[in-house]
Amino acid sequence: MYSDKVIDHFTNPRNVGVIIDADGVGEKVSASCGDRMKVFLKVVDGVIEDLKFQTYGCGAAIASSSMMSELVIGKTLDEALALTNDAVAEALDGLPDPKLHCSNLAADALHDAIKNYKEEGA
């Protein structure tokens, strides 16, 4: 059902946790399943220097969170804003159809954290 990449990221999720003095915090709750993701950002000179997440959700949600974290750490905020749900799913070598919505959690929570960072900073 799941690709090896999904299984890898689900089994050993990267960057799980909390950043106490985060520069931005975002959250997303899935409307379809109630699952939830929280993202904590550390931003230095417009670049995401660190990111941690917490996920309450299915295997696909956890793997998507982990993959998202790998994809954006070290990227600029603009690059991170350009990250789409599809890109996360693709980086995981795809998700089963009924699980595609799970990758939304990751990108949406990230974008929410960036928005929060910009608002805080503004």
Partner: protein, 393 residues
């Protein structure tokens, strides 16, 4: 194996979803594929050689549930049995009334058959359940009206194992002269099922839940109760279910029913003890868990348990990686999301509802299996809780 072929011990604890075919069952079936392959409706040697086998199987099924052989209709699965019982009765009895009573925790095969009938102009009362998944008999009786033609209430719940008080429901149905159907797909082979003692008029059986193969089931219909068929055509099954008999499957179902008669003691003894060991072990090792379903009136093989702060599929995946097959909600719901309607109807807190895991023990399980799960589960739960935004809060 889903995970890169690593060799792990495999423990199957999803017997409420389906079971392996038993050796005795498969052995009995084998001659009916290539040697005795005739159509039992044929009058020649090839047909006559197998029509006796279908008759014996009918007798074996009838004996397990204490009815007459002619009262058994062979079907292809539990869903067919439920659809035939509910839609077939509703159509047949339409001139007498249009009201059906069922419960909130029925299998989707029952609930969706009722929903279908609602679109056809029937009225359906769905009885609520309490926090242990039990209906209120007074509420049931109060729901019966002039128009009521059918009560459909399951014997054993497929998610929680909760056993309805079937005999009491039967007595109420009889008192009000309402036909009573019970989905006994999870109960047959696990607890004693006697249609006379329970006052049941129709009862659904699915073979693959107790050692017979997939693709065969049976519906008991009390003598004299009419039914509009789903499949029309040939005269098979006294004109109530057309279609060439699935002879090997039917033979297998018969043998599984015969074996079930003696296995009931093991279900009530060894299996129940294993299930209780698993339940107690989890409760003592992992905090903030909750058993779902009725504490006493429960299938002996079923444990449905929720773990606070985390989500069910993730638990299942980790269990799966360790070789343990369990499930979350019912198997047929696995490609849908959201909360189980059964757990939901019990009013379980949504977060607890999302993390419910069902262990369905079977004849092959051992104490080592249980102990292995007790060994690995605390770590899995902790790992997931450590990831959860709710746990840390």
């Amino acid at each position: 194996m889903s995970f890169g072929g690593k060799e792990v011990k495999r423990i199957y604890m999803d017997n409420n979803a389906t079971t392996a075919v038993r050796s005795e069952v498969l052995e009995a079936m084998l001659p009916f594929y290539k040697e005795q392959f005739g159509n039992p409706s044929s009058i020649h040697w090839a047909g006559q050689a197998v029509s006796g086998a279908v008759d014996s199987a009918r007798g074996q099924v009838a004996q397990l549930i204490n009815c007459q052989p002619e009262e058994i209709i062979f079907t292809s699965c539990g869903s067919e049995g439920n659809a035939l019982a509910i839609k077939g009765s509703a159509e047949f009895l339409r001139s007498k009334g249009n009201h059906i009573i069922t419960t909130a925790v029925e299998h989707p095969a029952v609930l969706n058959s009722c929903k279908y009938l609602e679109k056809q102009g029937f009225e359906v009362t769905v009885l609520a359940v309490d926090s242990e998944g039990m209906i209120d008999l007074a509420e049931l009786e109060a729901a019966i009206c002039e128009q009521t033609i059918l009560i459909s209430a399951m014997w054993g719940n497929n998610e929680t194992g909760t056993l309805f008080p079937v005999a009491e429901i039967g007595a109420i149905a009889r008192k009000h002269k309402v036909r009573f159907h019970t989905d006994a797909v999870q109960a047959v082979g696990r607890v004693p099922v006697d249609v006379q003692a329970a006052g049941v008029d129709m009862l659904t059986i699915s073979g693959h839940k107790f050692g017979a193969p997939k693709g065969v089931g049976a519906l008991y219909v009390r003598k004299g109760m009419g039914l509009t068929p789903l499949f029309h055509g040939g005269h098979q099954e006294r004109n109530r279910r057309a279609g060439t008999h699935n002879v090997p499957g039917i033979v297998g179902l018969g043998v599984a029913c015969e074996l079930a008669i003696t296995d009931l003691a093991e279900q009530d003894g060894r299996i129940r003890a294993l299930r209780d060991r698993l339940e107690q072990g989890i409760l003592s090792r992992i905090p903030e868990v909750q058993v779902n379903g009725h504490r006493l009136q429960r299938l002996p093989n079923t444990l449905n348990i929720s773990f606070a702060y985390i989500e069910g599929e993730a638990i299942l995946l980790f269990l799966d990686m360790k070789g343990v097959a369990a499930s979350s909600g019912s198997a047929c719901m696995s490609d849908s999301f959201g909360q189980s309607h059964v757990i939901g109807a019990m009013g379980v807190d949504p977060m607890m509802a999302n993390s419910n895991i069902r262990f369905g023990l079977g004849l092959d399980n051992t104490e080592e299996d249980v102990d292995f799960i007790l060994e690995i589960l605390p770590e899995i739960i902790q790992k997931l809780r450590d990831m959860s935004p709710f746990y840390s809060e």
